[in-house]
Amino acid sequence: MNLYKNFYVMNAMSTRAERKQKIVLPSTPFFTLGIAAGIAVIPISNALKKTDATNIQVVSPNALSMLLNDLYIVLSVSLLAILLGIVCAFYLEEWLPKTNWVRRFIESHVAVLTGIPSVLYGILAISIFLSYAGTLKVINGAPAAQDTGARPFQRHTTLFLGEGLIFILMVMPVTIKTTQEALRSVATPVREAAYALGASQWQVLTRHVVPIAFTRMLAAGCRAMARAFATAALLIGTYIWHYTAETDGMSSRFLLFLGAALFLSVCSSTLVEIHASIYNSDSA
């Protein structure tokens, strides 16, 4: 009988197409991230060669402007990454079917990237900083003694654009994953009910899914920002240990960033708890 034949095929995992579905796609990060790690060896080995880092010369503007500069970079980069991540999560979760290979490809990468401890991203960021900070100085020319003001690519802050890219790599997967979880937490019956009353996809999203998922999406943003701040604190900390002459305002910045990371992660967990207490209590 037709029915039984199909059940058999579905469970047997015998066809080529199904092997591709079940094994090949989820294991792609193994290869792509392997290649990425191979490329990352270059800055890391560069950094190891320059442990004295004598070619990095730091202009020392006042502590407040440095702090603002760091904050500006962390905030703008992580907000950008969070925004992109949320859009991406909506697209994956609400528009692409579960079996779509693009969705599976991205989801498997996101899963791996969120699993990597943020210290590893920090090490990559530090390596980039140590390898190229000096180079950028050389590109800009002028000797450090006469550097007083800001120029493009001037190294007068602990964080710069290369590290910004690492932040995006670090923040986006967390945002995508947690936002997807938030969207998935809106139960199917709610969506079904709204669709069956004739609501369009847009109406279902704006009137039900987003209001319900909003707290958890906010939590997702907080969690991602916490990760960015923690890594920034790590960078600043390393900076302190390397360049003891430049400690003006450094330790306070280190503490401030650590504090921000802690605060944001507490916010995130609290928001998840609030969401749970609103929507799970009355299902009994």
Binding site: N2, L3, N6, V190, A193, L197, H208
Partner: protein, 254 residues
């Protein structure tokens, strides 16, 4: 006799699994018709075809014709919101939206009318009418601002019926509406259906044969995607023409 739903050679596939095989059925206007059959026989699938909620799962292929109120619902000019407005659906598990009772009832109307076109007095009246017709007004008139998911299951299911009414549907599809309710709740919902039956056409999927016998005027028996028998309930239960129907209604299996 008028028919509000007519299908002709309706076949449906999930991927390459055929869930409905050449189903041709005519469902009379203004009556309760029940769909019975063992699990996995396509009852719910057939029901879900009638307001096209099936399509959301993707990977669904449909062939054949479904005419609802004289219009083929697979024509390209059919508007899904309008179709679902005319064909309401009640689900197996009560699924009120996680907003207030008041807003639950108005939700359907709000999405089908321009923004802010419903005045406060109108909406109050609509909510009262809808709740009165499902006999919830007395219980809930002081709880209109309460989140609907915190009500008792029986009240939730009645609310799910009530929120269809402001849209003035012609047909109400019910997918095992009483399976999550106790005996008292089941009785209440059945009574409600009987009272509303003249105004609306009901199509109800049920596993409970006693219920099919109690409430429905006509009964359809399905088996492995095929429609086996469609007759008046009394006749189908007492004198089944088909061997499989006889086995099922006399509870030899299922």
């Amino acid at each position: 006799m008028n028919h509000s739903i007519e299908t002709e050679n309706l076949s449906l596939w999930y991927g390459d699994f055929q869930a409905l095989i050449d189903v041709s059925v005519k469902i009379p206007d203004g009556q309760i018709t029940s769909l019975i059959g063992p699990s996995g026989c396509g009852k719910t699938t057939l029901l879900r075809c009638f307001n096209r909620v099936n399509e959301r799962y993707g990977n669904v292929t449909t062939e054949g014709k479904i005419e609802i109120l004289g219009k083929n619902i697979y024509d390209p000019d059919v508007s899904l919101p309008e179709l679902r407005k005319a064909v309401g659906m009640v689900f197996q598990r009560p699924n009120p939206l996680p907003i207030s009772v008041y807003e639950n009832i108005l939700f359907g109307l709000r999405i089908h009318s321009p923004m802010r076109s419903i005045t406060r007095t109108e909406s109050d009246q609509i909510v009262e009418e809808a709740l009165t017709s499902v006999f919830l007004w007395e219980d809930l008139k002081d709880k209109l601002k309460v989140r609907a998911t915190s009500l008792q299951l029986e009240q939730q299911q009645k609310l799910c019926i009530a929120r269809l009414l402001p849209l003035k549907p012609k047909i109400i599809l019910m997918d095992e509406p009483c399976s999550a309710l106790d005996a008292k709740g089941t009785l209440a919902v059945e009574e409600l259906m009987e009272i509303l039956a003249g105004t609306y056409t009901f199509l109800i999927v049920t596993h409970n044969m006693a219920q099919a016998r109690r409430v429905s005027e006509e009964c359809i028996f399905m088996f492995l995607g095929e429609l086996i028998e469609h007759r008046e309930t009394q006749a189908l239960f007492e004198d089944p023409k088909h061997e499989k129907t006889a086995d099922y209604v006399q509870m030899r299996y299922g």
